[in-house]
C-alpha cells in the first residue's frame, strides 16, 4: 500500500507547488519601500522647467505619484483611466516623467490628455532609482505623513483601482494626520 501512497503524495506536493507557482507573477517584486517614508526629491516641473517642485509640499495630503514616460508603451493603456480619475477630483495625481525628453513628454500629454497636477522631470532617472522603479508605469500611494502605503507595478487596471487604490486612498484621507493605515486593511490590496 505504502509504495502507492508515497509516490502519490510526492506527486501531489509537487503539483501544488507548481500550481501555486503558475499563479505568481515573477515580475512583481515586493517593494521594500512600502510603509517607509517616500524619498524626498526636488525636480523641475515638466511644464515650467525653471521652477522646481519638492515632494515636501505634499505633506498633509494623500496623493498618487505615477511614474510614466512617452517611450513607455504600457503607459498608454493606463492613461485614459488616470485622465478619468483626475476628472473626479478625488485625489491629486503627480507624474514622475522618468528618463524622458521634456518636449516629447509634453506633446504626449497634449495628445492623450494631462491627468497630472504637475509632472516632474526626472531626466536622469535618479529619483526613479530612489523609488526603486524598475518597470514603468508604476504608481505609488503616499499618505499624509509622506509614507508610501502602496505601489502598483505596471499599468493600473480598473479592478486594481476600484478594489485597492481608491478604497485605500479614501481610508487614508479619512484618517487623522498621525494615524497609521496600512494597505493590509483594504481587502483588495492583499
Amino acid at each position: 500500500m505504502l509504495r502507492y501512497i508515497v509516490p502519490l503524495l510526492v506527486f501531489l506536493v509537487v503539483a501544488v507547488f507548481l500550481g501555486v507557482g503558475l499563479d505568481l507573477n515573477p515580475r512583481e517584486v515586493p517593494s521594500p519601500l512600502i510603509d517607509k517614508p517616500a524619498p524626498v526629491f526636488n525636480l523641475p516641473k515638466l511644464h515650467a522647467l525653471e521652477t522646481s517642485f519638492s515632494s515636501k509640499e505634499m505633506l498633509g495630503k494623500v496623493w498618487l505619484l505615477n511614474v510614466w514616460a512617452s517611450w513607455c508603451v504600457a503607459c498608454r493603456s493606463e492613461h485614459p483611466l488616470l485622465v478619468q480619475l483626475s476628472r473626479a477630483n478625488f485625489v491629486p495625481i503627480y507624474g514622475l516623467n522618468y528618463k524622458d525628453e521634456p518636449n516629447e513628454a509634453k506633446s504626449w500629454l497634449q495628445q492623450l490628455g494631462d491627468p497630472y497636477v504637475a509632472s516632474l522631470s526626472d531626466y536622469e532617472g535618479k529619483v526613479g532609482i530612489d523609488y526603486g522603479v524598475y518597470g514603468v508605469p508604476e504608481t505609488f500611494v503616499i499618505d499624509k505623513q509622506g509614507v508610501i502605503r502602496h505601489k502598483v507595478i505596471g499599468p493600473v487596471t480598473p479592478a486594481a483601482l476600484d478594489n485597492c487604490v481608491l478604497p485605500l486612498v479614501e481610508k487614508l484621507q479619512q484618517a487623522s494626520a498621525q494615524a497609521v493605515v496600512k494597505r493590509t486593511e483594504v481587502e483588495g490590496c492583499a
Binding site: P26, R27, V29, P30, S31, P32, L33, K99, E124, G125, G128, I129, D130, Y131, G132, Y134, G135
Partner: protein, 176 residues
C-alpha cells in the same frame, strides 16, 4: 571537407569571438582597479528588468543606470556592503544574487540539506531492511538446514526422473 580544414576554420572563428568580447569591455572608471571593484559589485546585483542577468551583464537602461550609480558610489569611497544595502533599500532582497539568511529564506537555504537528509534516511532504512532479510536467510537452524537439503535433493531427483522419462519417450517416438 577534411577535419583539418574544419579545425582551422573553427579556430579562426574562435579568435574572432575573443576579439569581439575584448571590444565590449571598455573600462569606464579612470582607475582599472576601481572598475574591477565596480564590476565585482555589479556582478552581485540582479537586473530587475531582465531578471536572470546581473547588472554587470545586462544592457538594459536601468542596469546601465544602476551600474553608473555603483561606480559613483565606489568613486566616493563607499564599501561594497554600503552599496549593496543602498540597492536593497530600494529594490529589496531580490536585487541580491546571494539571498541573505533570514526567517523568510530559511527554506531556500535549508531545503537542499533537508532533501539530502530525507534521502539518506530512506537509503539507510532500505539498506537495513535488506540486510535484515539477508540475515534471515543465513540464520537457519541445523534442523531447518537438513530439511532444506532434503527438499532440494527430492526436487533434484524428481527433476532427474522427469528428464529420464521424457528422453525415454522421445527415444520411443523415434523408434516407432
Amino acid at each position: 571537407m577534411s577535419s583539418m580544414k574544419m579545425l582551422v576554420i573553427l579556430l579562426c572563428l574562435l579568435a574572432f569571438t575573443s576579439l569581439a568580447a575584448a571590444k565590449e569591455a571598455t573600462p569606464m572608471a579612470t582607475d582599472p582597479e576601481m572598475e574591477k571593484t565596480v564590476n565585482a559589485i555589479a556582478a552581485e546585483l540582479r537586473c530587475l528588468v531582465c531578471q536572470n542577468q546581473t547588472i554587470a551583464d545586462s544592457h538594459a537602461p536601468l542596469a546601465v543606470d544602476l551600474k553608473n550609480q555603483v561606480r559613483d558610489m565606489v568613486e566616493s569611497g563607499q564599501s561594497q556592503d554600503e552599496i549593496v544595502d543602498y540597492m536593497v533599500q530600494r529594490y529589496g532582497d531580490f536585487v541580491r544574487y546571494r539571498p541573505p539568511m533570514k526567517a523568510s529564506t530559511m527554506l531556500l537555504w535549508a531545503g537542499p540539506f533537508l532533501l539530502l537528509l530525507i534521502g539518506v534516511v530512506v537509503l539507510v532504512v532500505n539498506l537495513r531492511k535488506r540486510a535484515a532479510m539477508m540475515k534471515n536467510d543465513e540464520d537457519l537452524s541445523l534442523e531447518e538446514n537438513e530439511r532444506l537439503q532434503n527438499l532440494l535433493a527430492a526436487e533434484f531427483s524428481q527433476q532427474n526422473a522427469a528428464q529420464r522419462d521424457s528422453s525415454q519417450q522421445k527415444a520411443g517416438v523415434e523408434k516407432s
